[in-house]
Symmetry: D2
Subunit: 362 residues, 4 copies
Amino acid sequence: MVGGGQGAFIGGVHRIASRIDGKFDLVAGALSSNPERAAASAKELGIARSYSSYEEMAREEAAREDGIEAVAIVTPNHMHAGPAIAFLNAGINVICDKPLAATPEQAEEMAAAVKSSKARFILTHNYTGYPLIRQAREMVARGDLGKIRVIQASYSQDWLAEAPDPDNKQAEWRTDPAKAGGGAIGDIGSHAFNLLSFVSGLKTEALLAELHSMVDGRRVDDNAHILLRLEGGAKGMLWASQVAIGQENNLSLRIYGEKGGIEWNQENPNVMTFARFGEPKQLLTRGGAGLGSGGGDWTRIPPGHPEGYLEGFANLYSDAADLIRGEGDGSLLPGIDAGMDGMWFIASCIKSQDAGNTWITR
Amino acid sequence: MVGGGQGAFIGGVHRIASRIDGKFDLVAGALSSNPERAAASAKELGIARSYSSYEEMAREEAAREDGIEAVAIVTPNHMHAGPAIAFLNAGINVICDKPLAATPEQAEEMAAAVKSSKARFILTHNYTGYPLIRQAREMVARGDLGKIRVIQASYSQDWLAEAPDPDNKQAEWRTDPAKAGGGAIGDIGSHAFNLLSFVSGLKTEALLAELHSMVDGRRVDDNAHILLRLEGGAKGMLWASQVAIGQENNLSLRIYGEKGGIEWNQENPNVMTFARFGEPKQLLTRGGAGLGSGGGDWTRIPPGHPEGYLEGFANLYSDAADLIRGEGDGSLLPGIDAGMDGMWFIASCIKSQDAGNTWITR
Amino acid sequence: MVGGGQGAFIGGVHRIASRIDGKFDLVAGALSSNPERAAASAKELGIARSYSSYEEMAREEAAREDGIEAVAIVTPNHMHAGPAIAFLNAGINVICDKPLAATPEQAEEMAAAVKSSKARFILTHNYTGYPLIRQAREMVARGDLGKIRVIQASYSQDWLAEAPDPDNKQAEWRTDPAKAGGGAIGDIGSHAFNLLSFVSGLKTEALLAELHSMVDGRRVDDNAHILLRLEGGAKGMLWASQVAIGQENNLSLRIYGEKGGIEWNQENPNVMTFARFGEPKQLLTRGGAGLGSGGGDWTRIPPGHPEGYLEGFANLYSDAADLIRGEGDGSLLPGIDAGMDGMWFIASCIKSQDAGNTWITR
Amino acid sequence: MVGGGQGAFIGGVHRIASRIDGKFDLVAGALSSNPERAAASAKELGIARSYSSYEEMAREEAAREDGIEAVAIVTPNHMHAGPAIAFLNAGINVICDKPLAATPEQAEEMAAAVKSSKARFILTHNYTGYPLIRQAREMVARGDLGKIRVIQASYSQDWLAEAPDPDNKQAEWRTDPAKAGGGAIGDIGSHAFNLLSFVSGLKTEALLAELHSMVDGRRVDDNAHILLRLEGGAKGMLWASQVAIGQENNLSLRIYGEKGGIEWNQENPNVMTFARFGEPKQLLTRGGAGLGSGGGDWTRIPPGHPEGYLEGFANLYSDAADLIRGEGDGSLLPGIDAGMDGMWFIASCIKSQDAGNTWITR
């Protein structure tokens, strides 16, 4: 693991997600750019091999016979490219947090490194790991909804509704344009954009964005209103907000086609509604009755026993392990293409905003 | 009543809504532009004085000592202006269905007639009659939410997801541009727009709209994606759709301010959530515990005994009766201003669409 | 109308319910046992013929050529029998609030009067008027659920969680054993019992009840736990409470058979779930997609436009009017049999409680 | 681990739960009473030390310097006592699945072994591990609800609504009286009973049960209707069913006191409602706004990021590890007392049933 030392958030999530299915052991880390914190964090977590920099770690692990098979990169956005490229170049598989990078330049360099490396690159757009999201993707792909017409996606939170405590490390880098590369659009909007692309299977051809900074002194967007035009004529709306008081982590996706519609909400991810035109709406449940083959996969426990965020995240780790071992094709795993698509989304939002909220075509 | 003969929909709703509180008797009507159908409908409904045209009705009722005090106009959109102006000119109070008219020209003439008449003009944006919507308006006005930042409004249905039966009279005029003046934006979008204006108390200064006709051969929009800029810096999104399969009549409003947020959904209108930043979300119920003075008004039965669409509609009729009798100030009743605002909304959506989905400023 | 004068609750509900479909005019009343209040109430409501006693009213109305066709009795429970018998004997149809009476003796006398009269007797177990409840009954009857196994019914409120204000007229008689004939079991438990019988079509053969008075000084039950044995081997549980803090008017019914299950809740009565074994649960909506013939009846407005308590109540009035006019068979209307069944329920609960919470067989 | 070999269900759950917080390594096992399956299962799971019997495992592990610190017993109910006693006697901490045993005799022997051992005994009533359940317990304990009056608990499923496939190993032993010791009352009713005791802090003094076998040929109860009398005058109802078609794993708890009420449902365990009399109902969320100290503990991720069944289960493992290491007091962990209480519940239900559904006092 690179990053994820004391005071970090997403590193702990990756560690749990990697443990759930027992396919990973955490044996090495460069947990902080501060060598003392790196060492202290490694000790606290019982990690045997602690490095003071990711460069050292990539070099030494690649040289060991029992070196790591994969590295999880859980640093702030502007610190993804450096370690990702180093490990890819060293032939070590990379599991990287999203969004891909803080700048298009970093992203391009990462894409080049992926292309020239034999190692795998996986981007943890973790919400794609929810079983019902994969079920929805399968339903769209096999035509249950017919040709897609309308997509409504939103991701709303309220934790940045006021200026955060200056000691809040999470808030600090996420509201720094240089480190984050975007505000709500990068932190959560990119998730919603990825999710709608993943489920619909449609590429977005153009967008128009209005970005807002609702809190005094904020240097990034904390609310974004976005219109989308997708291939095949589908149209979308995407709302991302970190100032929607009363919302915790409300990622929601609704897709409507010529024959049917589906609706899903991350806060209760074990249920999805599905309606065919002129028929009663159905409640599909994770692993529950009446799902096709896709429904029963990627779950560990029977329907009615709720799985959550960590299990969805774990599905990415599990698939990654299978892919690395040659036991799976990884076809559902977001990789560099999803990452580049997300970078296009973020950059286009900013471009649209700077141009007076006009349409940006890919 | 003008309109509302056999085969009509909204006329029956107005008749029930006017009866619920016992403040109206239906005694006269020009129920159809077809004199035979007008007579047959009047007979069926037990209406004593049946007229074969609204002109005749306005003239004769104005002349009677026991003439009607108010007329309900429940014709298709392009047939509002004629009777409304006739009755206003005759000094008879008008209760008119929405949107105001099918064209800006008709709307201007109606506005002029309202201005020069001593009679009242009420536009039945019925969703403003729901007790919790009025509660929400009061909460916003007294600052419970702080300065408004974000408004998310949507109104989705699916009844036009396919080309309707040619015999469907409701669908016929609603999908004819000349009669309706707009598709989803006029039929339901105008309700959502009115509702967000009513609750927030904010005027929209600019909008950008993308209008879609998802069904082959449809001549009006059946799906619309709209961005709003409101006075004071608030931003909004509005989605209106008649092709969202699985949606019945899902008018939903969410408003977020600097201090709190509210969320409400028309399909279960007896509940509204309210969150103050950093406190647990509250479930406010119609007439229920903890509401201020506004909460208990405009309800007929105790909390937990659901009221619905007809009771909300009846609140407009009840307030209208009080206003006409001088027993209420009618301050919550939508009138010509709300109507003109809705016409601006519809016209601006079309203008934005025609100009390539660009911003239209008021 | 008999009863329903100033300060009453259910009288107003009956008046609205009778008006909604326009099949009744309220022309005469003995609105209070206090003649002055009766007169004042009648004047306030604009009722032409006001009587100072129900005896006088029954006699005089029966004698008039334009006398009333039906009387609504909306007095406290111990005051049902007198007027009901008087009007039945006078040949006037009776629409009576529930439960039937305050004592078994009163109930027997009423049953005898119904038997010997040519007039109709309707008991307003209003919750049977909800369209989805009638839909559920039809589904059970035609075997959609298979043989019924388990019924879970509950009706919970919290308005009596503390000793009420002494001026609360509603609470006063409802907590007086002589006037009410029972506490929660009569006021709300009898509704739940009626509803489960109505939908399942099954008679209860035995019950065991534990009745509680949770509030100091209360002389009737305010919470009741009841087990039911129904014909054909079905088993049930019934909970009635007026001290369940946070509950407003939560009448809920769940029925499970060999092939399927349904669940419905009065506070959002426009939705019902239906599950067949091994298939996804369906959301059935009032008047919505996929309902059989029963689904579309008894509704006034399209799906997604919520109807509520008053419309359900109005369905009883509407059916009663049709029955009286010979335009309907009244087969869904609760009558004297449902009333006597409810009296058996109340009496058996009390008997079971008095006998140490043992089983009481019919 | 003892039990949990190929084809088992709950063993896999324990393994994941023990891994989530990284406080356990699985190093030894007697995974099946069939030695070949035991070996094959251990190999599949990568467990180093595989034993062909629990006796051998207890003996040898106790003798090793690096022997296991704790054993998880995940066998069918009638196979709990043997290994539990063996490991307790060997001084090894025991984490045992529920219910305690299949017979009262087995339970008594286990209690004696716990008493005489210095090792810890933990019973995995896993639903007590949900953060909001622990929050509810804290709220009751500090008086937020006032004196408890009414408890409504239910646990409904439908997976046994028909006779199961003969190859269904889970169904086989769970419907065998000798192996399970009870049907729905033991498998799920005991969870509901434990949960209500845990949250309310109240002991049940008497109960009355009616047990049903709804499916032809079933030898244990698959539906149970139970009335409870708790200390201090509180009253309860408990419904357990495995034939409620449409229900997946619906464990629900509602508790009402003199001052307030709470409601929680396992299928969406991240939300709980809390109402104080006369105030709006609150939505409390796991780790969310406005919870006291208890609310933020035992969660790994921010509010809105759903945790589920496995994380709740993991909280028991985490607490057990802390207790064993002397880093926690284990005060929230169910142990032998909860187990004996559950055995009283099961035995009393059967006794009540056999005596004609009469009251059984403790």
